[in-house]
Each structure stands twice: as C-alpha cells, then as structure tokens.
C-alpha cells in the first residue's frame, strides 16, 4: 500500500517502547504525568532513609522543642529551619512524609498482594471446579461485598487484638491492617478470575491439556492465569489507591499504625487537629502527598483499563 511504514525497532527495550501499550501511554499526557508523580513518590518512599534529612522514626533524634516550626522559618527556641516545617512532636514534616508514604505504600502494596493472591486463588478454584464449591465461594463473596469494608476492618482489628498478645500488638498492627484491608478487597479479583476461568476452561487447548493429563494447577497457572492478568492488573492499580485511603480512614477511627511510626493517613489525622490553630503545614503537605499519590495511581489505573481493553482502542 501507499503507506510509509516506520521500521520496527529491535532490542527488548525498543520493542517494549514500540508496543501498543507504550504507544497509548505516550499518547496520554495524563498517564505520563500520573506515572511520573507516582514514580517520584514511590522512589521517595523507597529511598526515604537516603533522601530524608532526618529519621523521624527514631525517637531519640527528636527534640520536642522543635515542634510546630513553620516551613522555612527558624524555630523560636532552637533556631532550626525545616523545609516543610515540623509537626507537634518536632518531627521534620518532609522526612515524616517520606517515611509515612513508605508505610502507606507498604500497606497498600501488601494489602493488594494479599487480596490478589486470595482472590485469584479462590476465583480459579471456583471457576475451575464449579458446582457447590463455586456456589459457596460466590455466596461468601456476595456477603463480603455487601458487608461494609470499614466495618470488616474494624472487626478484624478487634479479633486480632484478642488473639495477639499485648507485647506483639504494635508490631503486628501493620499486618493486621494489611489483612483487614486485603480481606475486604479480594472479591473483585475472585469475580474477574472466576468468570475468565469459566470461559477458558472450555476452550480446546485447555480441554486438550486436560486430556493429556496435565495437572489442574498447571493448567490454571500456565494457561488460564495469563489470560486474566490484564483486568487483574487494572483492579490491582485502583485497589492500591483504595487501600492507601482505607488505611487513612481506619487511622481516623483509631485503628492503625502506631503514632510513633505514622503513615500518611495518620499524619493527616494528626494534622487535622491543627486546621484552625494555624499550623496549616502539618495538614497540608501530607494531604497533598496522599492526594497526589492516590490520584496518580487512580489515573494510571484508569488509563490502564482503557488501554488494556482492546475494544476501546
């Protein structure tokens, strides 16, 4: 035909760069900005110990008299200057945000991973086995979907408090949080995976694999799972943002990570107390960070959803 065809790039990176998904990404300024923001925040969180000027999680390094220092102004007592000011404990807000984002992201990623593992496993089982196993799992999923997630998280927290000895409660708090948030999110994955599994399992290649006696687990992992990773990835992205916000909400209700190692949500809960008293920076900067993080992850999820849906291209 009369068209000019650009030469196909070579090399792994070149091919990745040239793929449809990468192209759609480059074409979407929103996605690019969102990705850059997320990346900066994630890198900042991961490398917080290297970037942060202070270690806000080390109580010995804190001087209470540094508390409530406004941004870029010297503290009235100590004369110390902090970029984004300090909070009520004299913690450098900038450093605390980095470390807090680390906690929030950890909780978010771990909760998503947990929900994903659980959801995919149950979805595969339900879809592949069918019958009463399927009915049971989906009924549980229905109940779970209606039972409000915060309430569920509160209850799980209550249970955990009963089972975990007091000495370990603080250390376990973050894991309890992860399980609580994860448990309230698994249903979506399970539904998507179950649906896809039911479609795929009747396809010829799966039937063929069955006939030659391939182990069901192998069939599920090798053949069916790759087919559902697209939608799962989309749910996971949005789920990450959701989990980060859920963690913040729970901290408002008084369940969550210890205040000596605050997450972004805990920082906002603390900063919220200073909305009227004039220490705006304690609330503003963590809120902006959380908003930027959740918003950009959500936008990425949006873009991914559209980009992975072949019918919308």
């Amino acid at each position: 035909m009369t068209e000019l065809h650009k030469p196909r790039p070579t090399g792994r990176f070149g091919r990745a760069w040239d793929s449809d998904i990468a192209y759609s990404f480059r074409q979407s300024p929103v996605a690019v900005v969102a990705a850059v923001v997320s990346l900066i925040l994630i890198l900042g969180a991961v490398f917080a110990p290297l970037i942060a000027p202070y270690d806000p999680f080390n109580p010995a390094s804190l001087n209470l008299m540094d508390g409530f220092t406004p941004p870029m102004e010297p503290n009235a007592f100590t004369g110390n200057v902090y970029w984004l000011g300090t909070d009520n404990q004299g913690r450098d807000v900038f450093s605390t945000i980095l470390y807090g984002a680390r906690i929030s992201l950890f909780v978010g990623f771990a909760a998503v991973l947990f929900a994903m593992t659980l959801g995919i496993t149950l979805g595969l089982i339900a879809g592949y086995r069918g019958g009463w196993v399927d009915s049971l799992l989906m009924r549980v999923a229905d109940v779970q979907l209606t039972f409000p997630s915060i309430l569920l998280a509160l209850l799980i927290f209550g249970v955990a408090r009963g089972f975990i000895p007091p000495a370990y409660r603080e250390a376990m708090a973050i894991w309890v949080l992860i399980v609580a948030i994860g448990l309230s999110e698994w249903v979506q994955y399970a539904r998507v995976v179950r649906g896809a599994t039911m479609v795929e399992k009747n396809k010829e290649y799966v039937q063929a694999a069955r006939v030659i006696g391939a182990h069901p687990v192998k069939i599920l992992l090798r053949h069916i799972l790759p087919n559902v990773m697209g939608p799962v990835l989309v749910i996971a992205t949005i789920g990450l943002a959701l989990a980060i916000i859920a963690e913040a909400t729970l901290s408002f209700l008084g369940v969550g990570v210890p205040p000596t190692q605050p997450s972004l949500g805990t920082l906002i809960r603390i900063g919220q107390q200073y909305l009227f008293s004039g220490e705006w920076w304690i609330l503003l900067f963590p809120s902006i960070t959380l908003l930027a993080l959740a918003l950009s992850v959500n936008l990425l999820g949006d873009w991914l959803r559209d980009a992975l849906n072949p019918r919308l291209r």
């Binding site: 929103v30 009924r139 229905d142 109940v143 979907l145 209606t146 039972f147 409000p148 997630s149 915060i150 309430l151 509160l154 209850l155 209550g158 249970v159 408090r161 009963g162 089972f163 943002a241 959701l242 916000i245 913040a248 909400t249 408002f252 209700l253 949500g265 906002i268 809960r269 919220q272 909305l275 009227f276 809120s287 959380l290 908003l291 993080l293 959740a294 918003l295 959500n298 936008l299 949006d302 959803r305 019918r311 919308l312």
Partner: protein
C-alpha cells in the same frame, strides 16, 4: 417463585446468624465494659458483682444463646452507656442515618449516572476528561478530611451552612423525626450528604461509564442506529437502560457501605445517627448497642439483597423466565 423466596429467606437467616456469631465473639476483644460503666472509685468486688450481673462470666455459648433468643423478639437489652433499651435507641437514631443515606445515595446516583453517561458519550472530550479526573479527588482523600475541609470552608469561613447536627427536626407521629421539613434541617443535610455521597458518586460514575461504553458497542445498539433511531433514543432509551441493570445491582449493594461510611461522616458532623452511636459504643464497649448495630447492618444487607433481586427481576425480563423456570 415460592421456592426461590424460601431459599432466600433461609439464606438470610443463616447470614444473620453468622453475623450474630461473629459479632458476638468479637465483643470479648473490644474492651472491658465494666471499667467504663463503673467510676474510678468502684471497688474490685463491685466490678466483679457487675460483671456477674451482666452475665459476662457465663460460658460463651450461654451468652450467645441468650443473646439470640432475646434478639429474635427484638430485645437487645439495655445500653450500658445510655441505659436505654437498645432497640428504642437505634430506632430513634435510624431516621437520621436513613435520611442522610437516602439523600446522599440519591444525589450520588443522579450525579453518578449523569456524569457517567456524559463521559461515556463524550469519551476523550476535555470536559469529560476533567470530570473523570476531578471526580477522582473524591476517592483520593480520606472521607474525614473532606468533611473537615467542607466544615472549614462552608461553615467557618463562608458561614453558609451549619457545621454540625441536624438542625430543627419535626416529629412525625412520634416514631420518625425528620429534618426535611425545616430549613435548618435541610441546610444541615448538605455538607454531610456531600461528604458521604462523593465517594459513592465517583464509584457509580465510573461504573456507569464503563458499562455504557461496553453497551454502546453492543450489536443491538448498532442495529438500533442502523434502524435510524435518534441519538437520544439510542443513547438513553437503549444504551442507558441496559447500562442500568448492573449499575442498579452494584449501587444497591453499595447502600450497605453508605450506611457503614456514615460512621465517619456522622462522627465528623455530629450527625445523630446510628453510625455515631456505634462508634461511641465501641469506645465505651457498649456491647448491646454494638451487637444490635451489627445485626441491623446484616438486616439491611439481607433486605437490600432482596430488593436488588426484585429490581433486577423487574428491569431484566430475561430473569423472569429463568426465575419462574427455576421456581417450577
């Protein structure tokens, strides 16, 4: 049909019992009500006596059995904290929560469907992109912060709207106090309703958009266009109606979460509903109220599920066949 209803009722009973069991076993871990109930001067013997009187020393099974048997007759005991019958307490707070949930739910649904349809039909337009992005703010900030910010802007700085409570309420027949009939009641609803509804609106909007995009590519939509039906008829008569089937299910199921999220909204706005009652009860370890609240949520779940099923049944003729076939 009868078999279907019976099956649903049976399932509902099982769900309620499960919730009761789970909830009840949890209460042993939420704290010790005795400390809150007795003052600091109470002696250890007094504490033990009260614990005994409340049956807190009975075996778990005994406590649970007595709870369930009494709950069946609507008797959830008396609040440890407010010393009122729990049932009466919850019923007196329920109107506030239901009015709030209703208003925010309806607003969320109307705006969610409206924006969802718009953004689906104008995919790629700058306005729909903006709506999509801005709406995300609703799910990218914790609810409590949104509430506090709204109070700050609209109650403190602008002084347009009240910051707390329900305003003047009007008592209807003594069993339902409504805030709809007074101006202060309606004004008081605005901020909490926005706070509570924002998240749901975003959810519904995205759901509608996704479903609508899906439906717009369906063959019957193409066929409708090929028959020369007007855009209006195609988009709203055909596409929207089909979109709404799954949307109704999911938003219906979300109603439960509206009521749960009202815990936060009600706390922030001092809204006198069951959510605030619950969270105060948790702090005080007011076990009877907590138990009744969870049972209420379970009941709401069961009822909503039933309603959603019936709605589905009304909207989607295909189910009528399946269901009636299943019933024979």
């Amino acid at each position: 049909m009868l078999a279907f209803i019976l099956r649903r009722v049976l399932q509902s009973v099982i769900v309620m019992l499960t919730v009761a069991l789970v909830a009840f076993s949890l209460f042993r871990f939420v704290g010790d009500p005795i400390v809150s109930m007795l003052g600091q001067e109470a002696t250890l013997a007094e504490r033990a006596a009260l614990r005994d009187a409340l049956g807190l020393n009975d075996p778990f099974v005994v406590q649970f059995f007595s709870f369930v048997t009494r709950a069946i007759s609507g008797d959830f005991g008396i609040s440890y904290r407010l010393q009122q019958p729990v049932m009466e307490l919850i019923l007196s707070r329920l109107p506030a929560t239901l009015e709030l949930a209703l208003v925010s739910g309806i607003a969320a649904f109307i705006f969610g469907v409206g924006f969802g349809v718009y953004t689906a039909l104008r995919r790629g337009g700058w306005l729909s992109s903006s709506i999509m992005t801005v709406s995300l703010i609703g799910v990218s900030l914790p609810t409590f912060l949104i509430g506090v910010l709204l109070i700050w802007v609209f109650a403190v700085e602008l002084q347009w709207l009240p910051s707390f409570g329900r305003g003047e309420v009007v008592d209807l027949d003594g069993w339902w106090r409504t805030g709809f009939l007074t101006e202060s009641g309606r004004m008081s609803l605005i901020l909490p309703a926005i706070t509570l509804g924002l998240y749901q609106m975003t959810l519904i909007m995205r759901l509608v958009r996704a479903e609508m995009l899906e439906v717009l590519r369906a063959d019957y939509i193409k066929f409708a266009r090929a028959r020369g039906l007007s855009n209006r008829a195609v988009n709203f008569g055909h596409a929207l109606k089909n979109t709404l089937v799954p949307v109704i299910t999911i938003t219906g199921l979300q109603l439960g979460s509206i009521i749960a999220f009202s815990i936060i909204t009600e706390t922030v706005f001092q809204w006198p509903g069951v959510g605030a009652l619950f969270i105060n009860s948790v702090r005080f370890v007011d076990v009877p109220v907590m138990a009744a609240y969870l049972m209420l949520i379970a009941l709401v779940f069961v009822v909503i599920n039933l309603i959603v099923d019936l709605l589905y049944y009304l909207v989607d003729p295909r189910l009528r066949l399946d269901r009636s076939a299943a019933g024979h």
